[in-house]
């Protein structure tokens, strides 16, 4: 597939490229240059440049949006809201039938859900609240869903929360995770986050029950705060890492290395 990636040199981008690069033809775009190690095609482009995004999308089979900007009021709306408008117009104009949008879990499940309830799942109506990052992404999602519905564009939305390296549980610009001390209840390894995008790119449309489907990209720890079973059942995503050292009191040791591997 020919895939346009918007916001591809941010936090998630490298893991998405890793998951897709040997199987698909990628055009990476971002306002920041990729590292020198990246060998593929790159175009410097801001996601709110509607004409630029439309031009970049010509001839593509799929668009993936990884763009994000959280803290500045204007830039947050430019990237998260107007960026989605650019993307969906590009999909409409070039008849691109698959768009993969990404965002934080709270664009759907804001404080009015998270602090109150359990078994939160991706079929719930969104309640982002007024937090800047959440509402700017939610409004972008609203645009994407309206376009999906009206123009028949297959929209797959992947929601994330806390991403960590599987080897040491760190993440850039975040405090180090404390082991065996309870967890952010929706924590996923970076490598599995990238793999989820590959699943979304490659899933057969017949497995999706509607034109717009949302998935929580999280392993299934036992707390039952968030329910990501749909991601396992429909998307076919199988995380390699449950990150259980975050939510067990002791390190779980293998009694039988060979048997555990199955």
């Amino acid at each position: 597939m020919k895939i346009l990636i918007l916001g591809g040199t941010g936090m998630l981008g490298p893991w998405v490229v890793k998951a897709l690069k040997n199987k698909h033809q990628l055009l990476l775009t971002d306002i920041n240059e990729p590292p020198k190690k990246y060998q593929g095609d790159f175009l410097k482009l801001s996601v709110d440049d509607i004409n630029g995004v439309i031009n970049a999308a010509e001839g593509m089979d799929c668009i993936i949006n990884l763009s994000v900007l959280r803290h500045d009021r204007k830039l947050a709306f430019d990237v998260s809201t107007k960026g989605n408008y650019s993307m969906m117009n590009a999909a409409k104009i070039h008849n691109i039938k698959r768009v993969i949008n990404t965002g934080p879990h709270f664009q759907m499940l804001g404080q009015s859900y998270e602090e109150w309830d359990f078994n939160l799942n991706p079929e719930m109506p969104p309640q982002p609240g007024t937090r800047l990052y959440a509402i700017s992404k939610f409004l972008g999602q609203e645009i994407a869903e309206r376009y999906s519905d009206y123009f028949g564009i297959n929209l797959i939305t992947l929601l994330y929360y806390n991403m960590r390296h599987h080897y040491d549980l760190t993440t850039p610009n975040e405090e180090k995770a404390v082991l065996h001390n309870d967890m952010v209840p929706f924590t996923t390894s970076w490598i599995d986050c990238g793999e989820a995008v590959r699943c979304a790119v490659e899933i057969d449309k017949s497995k999706l029950k509607s034109n717009s489907e949302t998935f929580f990209i999280s392993p299934m720890p036992p707390h039952n705060k968030f329910n990501s079973s749909k991601t396992f059942d429909v998307l076919g995503w199988r995380p390699k890492y449950s990150l259980e050292n975050l939510w067990t009191k002791k390190i779980k040791k293998s009694n039988n290395h060979i048997e555990d591997s199955y």
């Binding site: 709110d48 509607i50 009021r73 204007k74 709306f77 430019d78 809201t81 107007k82 408008y85 804001g110 009015s112 309640q127 982002p128 609240g129 007024t130 800047l132 509402i135 700017s136 939610f138 409004l139 609203e142 645009i143 309206r146 376009y147 009206y150 123009f151």
Partner: protein, 225 residues
């Protein structure tokens, strides 16, 4: 005699702003102008809301934009900034002015009321923006920043099956300005402990006549039609 309210209206250049001005003559009204919306820091907007009781935000055809991106920017970011500033200055109530055109894609014989999800075409960005504006207002209500009444209006200019007379609009908007959210009709408490209604109320407003397109029982009960 009801106390005069200080009411701020989101723009002064549109036809709906002029009608609002006529309808709210019994209150102290003021308008946000284009220069007010040139700001580098959203905190600058807070001065607009000093001593304001009610803010009327026009979410449909209230802002003239040079292109679709500016229109989206106004109905998302600028709307967010204005409402954020209103919250900081403790504005007690926001009236969101929206449109019944958000139901344009339903067949005419359906009994569309406030309980129906909006369904509209995307051939022009105005309706998408009205929808986005509503969504921003709703999240401020959800976070209990202030009470919001979302008024979806029929057609104030043409004689159609959604026509809305200025007289009914005047009666309704004045009632909304003074609406007490602890009214039994709004609480719908049904033996519960609720002290007031939800912070977010949708109301559909058009004239009442045989063949009217949208049901208006909810607002008609409130204004006593």
């Amino acid at each position: 005699m009801k106390k005069k309210k200080n009411i701020l209206i989101s723009s002064n250049g549109s036809s709906i702003a002029k009608i609002l001005s006529n309808c709210l003559v019994s209150h102290n009204t003021s308008f946000i102008n284009d220069k007010d919306l040139i700001y580098s820091n959203p905190k600058e907007l807070e001065k607009l809301f000093e001593k304001i009781d009610v803010y009327v935000h026009i979410g449909f055809k209230g802002f003239l934009a040079k292109d679709e991106m500016e229109l989206i920017d106004y109905h998302t970011r600028v709307t967010y900034d204005l409402l954020f500033a209103a919250g900081k200055k403790n504005v007690e109530k926001v009236i969101s002015i929206s449109t019944l055109e958000l139901y344009k894609d339903y067949e005419a014989n359906l009994t569309v009321s406030e309980n129906w999800e909006t369904k509209f075409p995307l051939d022009k960005p105005e309706l998408l923006c009205a929808n986005l504006s509503e969504k921003v207002c709703k999240e401020f209500a959800r976070d209990q920043v202030f009470e919001v009444i979302n008024l979806r209006l029929g057609d104030l200019r043409k004689n159609s099956d959604t026509r809305l007379s200025e007289e009914k609009f005047k009666k309704s908007i004045n009632l909304m300005v003074n609406l007490d959210f602890s009214l039994e009709e709004l609480k719908q408490s049904f033996n519960s402990a609720r002290k007031k209604g939800p912070n977010w109320i949708n109301l559909h407003l058009q004239d009442t006549f045989e063949g009217q397109k949208f049901l208006t029982n909810k607002i008609d009960n409130l204004i006593g039609v």
